[in-house]
Symmetry: C2
DNA sequence: GTGAAAGCGCTAACAG
DNA sequence: CTGTTAGCGCTTTCAC
């Protein structure tokens, strides 16, 4: 591999000049041209370790997730990528896969050995000592999906969107509105499941509808779990609508309804949260939370924090939006009344 | 941050001794103890860039995929992780997202600037000049999913498993066997779609069944696409069985059959390839291709190639296995005969 | 605008 | 087993 000295020799200048020319520092236009040409010709590319050692910057950021094999996280990732790429940053992935022990290893090694310039953590509740470690190392962090003291954040207003989802059902005339969710590792992070559950209760209360806890079923944030929960929900005295804590749960509910011979939305309305890539296919009404945009914002925030260490933490809230499809409709009065009597 | 000199000072030895003790080179047991203790106490962790600059090793490997947001690739990734983690390697992700231009950027920059010690590419047909670049850089490469001249490979025998899948249907007594697949970017990589299509034809030929091209429908490797294809397939003179090129396509077929009022497997058998995480939920018979195992093998192969540059290319074939669920059964003779007449 | 020189923090001979 | 001494390839003062 050609190194910087080769380029310098080729052009007939010092290596310092080559370095400056390549990094856009002071250099005459003519010198810069010749350096660039020589670099191109010799196939020179800066050595990342040498450059990192000299500057303290790696041009590499870390992305930490509880599971990479979930729609939300890969979608966040997709949002981050273009902006990292454009700025010349690589991405190293810290996938915990639910193994908490790995977190410790990652903090004690990868992060500390200065292999990244900053960290984006999604759905991970960093411990105070972890936050401290990062601050001591002067590594900016941005967190996606929940609030951590002393850490910049990108998130959505989960309480609000859960209320909105429930209110949508109420406004259609539903009163027997079930909720499925609040389970699993994803539901536990930052009390996401709890918050959406609270949103459901609050919306019902605000509308003067009694909260019937028989209309709540716990489910992990995936299709099979939503399916099981809905199966158990749709027996006698069934609800006319379900607010699912996620689209995957919602899809599970739709499939369960079909299997039981119910027609969506005629016999049952279902609304989810996410705008998962399969939601259009299943015609699921939902509240989109734009994980790609969340990733984009997180990356922008992180990079600006790297360029100029922020004095204070920033908070960016992504605005969700309603996507009305055909899984929600007015309740079928004949059924409702037959149940009521 | 404490550096190696701090540790040396603390213990009262030279920095060379500290380096050796920490890297498991010659050092008296006692010295090693004291060094370890001091490092622990001072919170010392080696600087990756300094270490890389001195050794030429980054302890970082690259993983290149066409799309990270697909089951196959995240599952391969999951298989790689434990073995990388255990060996102290980080993973930097090169997600092409279908943008071919990014490949060039990645090769010209990330790879060349020596930020990884090796590369695992999945479903990516590396060009000859890319292979050459990598060889010149002495960066081992292992490829998953297809053969590239001069590159170690982990794959499965796609022709064989497609035949097996089709033969399963034949052995149940089906003769009107459709195939859905051979489309999209995933199908194009290494002619994957073509190969599975050929397997279908070959199996039919071997069984003396005429290949009816009206029973083939093109579909991308996803659920909606499989659904559309099956919808168009299941009209008049429909097949009694479908060999889907992937489980996602197969799931789409099952959903289409349901929507059309057909019962699986009574009216229609469906078999896929993958053992996708939703296949159990949909009771889809399939041939598992164990992407996790493919990832594991690829990581093992790559790391051993890094430790001792291999003289020759290696090839590891993962053995798939049948997973019989309830989406396949003997054809319903009454229907078959009514069609025949 | 450019060159000389001093590191960045670590590893790897080479002696002893 | 341990210390001394060169670098690894680049960036960045500091003079000129």
């Amino acid at each position: 591999m050609a190194d910087i000295a080769d380029v310098a020799r080729h052009v007939g200048v010092s290596i310092a000049t080559v370095s400056r020319a390549l990094n856009g520092k002071s250099a005459s236009p003519e010198t810069r041209q010749r350096v660039l040409a020589a670099a191109q010709e010799l196939g020179y590319v800066v050595s990342s370790s040498a450059s990192s050692l000299a500057t303290g910057r790696t041009r590499n950021i870390g992305f930490m997730v509880p599971f990479i094999d979930r729609w939300f996280f890969t979608t966040v990732l997709k949002g981050m990528e273009p902006i990292l790429l454009e700025r010349g940053y690589d991405l190293t992935l810290y996938d915990l896969q639910g193994v908490e022990k790995q977190r410790e290893i990652i903090f004690d090694n990868s992060l500390r050995r200065a292999s990244v310039d900053g960290l984006i953590a999604a759905s991970i509740e960093l411990a105070p000592n972890e936050v401290r470690t990062l601050r001591d190392l002067k590594k900016p962090v941005v967190n996606i999906g929940g609030t951590i003291p002393g850490v910049s954040t990108v998130d959505i207003d989960n309480l609000r969107i859960s209320q909105l989802a429930t209110e949508h059902l109420i406004s259609l005339g539903h009163t027997r509105i079930a909720h499925v969710g609040n389970g699993g590792a994803l539901g536990a992070a930052f009390h996401l499941g709890d918050t959406r559950y609270q949103g459901w209760k609050t919306a019902l209360n605000n509308a003067g509808i009694d909260v019937d806890l028989n209309l709540f079923r716990e489910a992990d944030f995936d299709i099979p779990s939503g399916y099981q929960a809905a199966k158990s929900l749709l027996g006698y005295d069934r609800p006319t609508a379900i607010f699912a804590a996620s689209d995957e749960i919602g899809i599970g509910c739709i499939l369960a309804a079909r299997d039981l011979g119910f027609h969506v939305p005629h016999d049952l309305s279902v609304i989810g949260i996410d705008d998962h890539h399969l939601s259009g296919f299943f015609d699921l009404t939902t509240i989109a939370q734009f994980p790609e945009e969340q990733g984009r914002q997180a990356a922008i925030l992180l990079l600006s924090n790297i360029d100029e260490p922020a004095s204070e933490q920033l908070h960016h809230t992504v605005t969700p939006s309603f996507i009305i499809r055909s899984s929600t409709a007015k309740p079928d009065m004949s059924i409702t009344s037959s149940i009521r009597q």
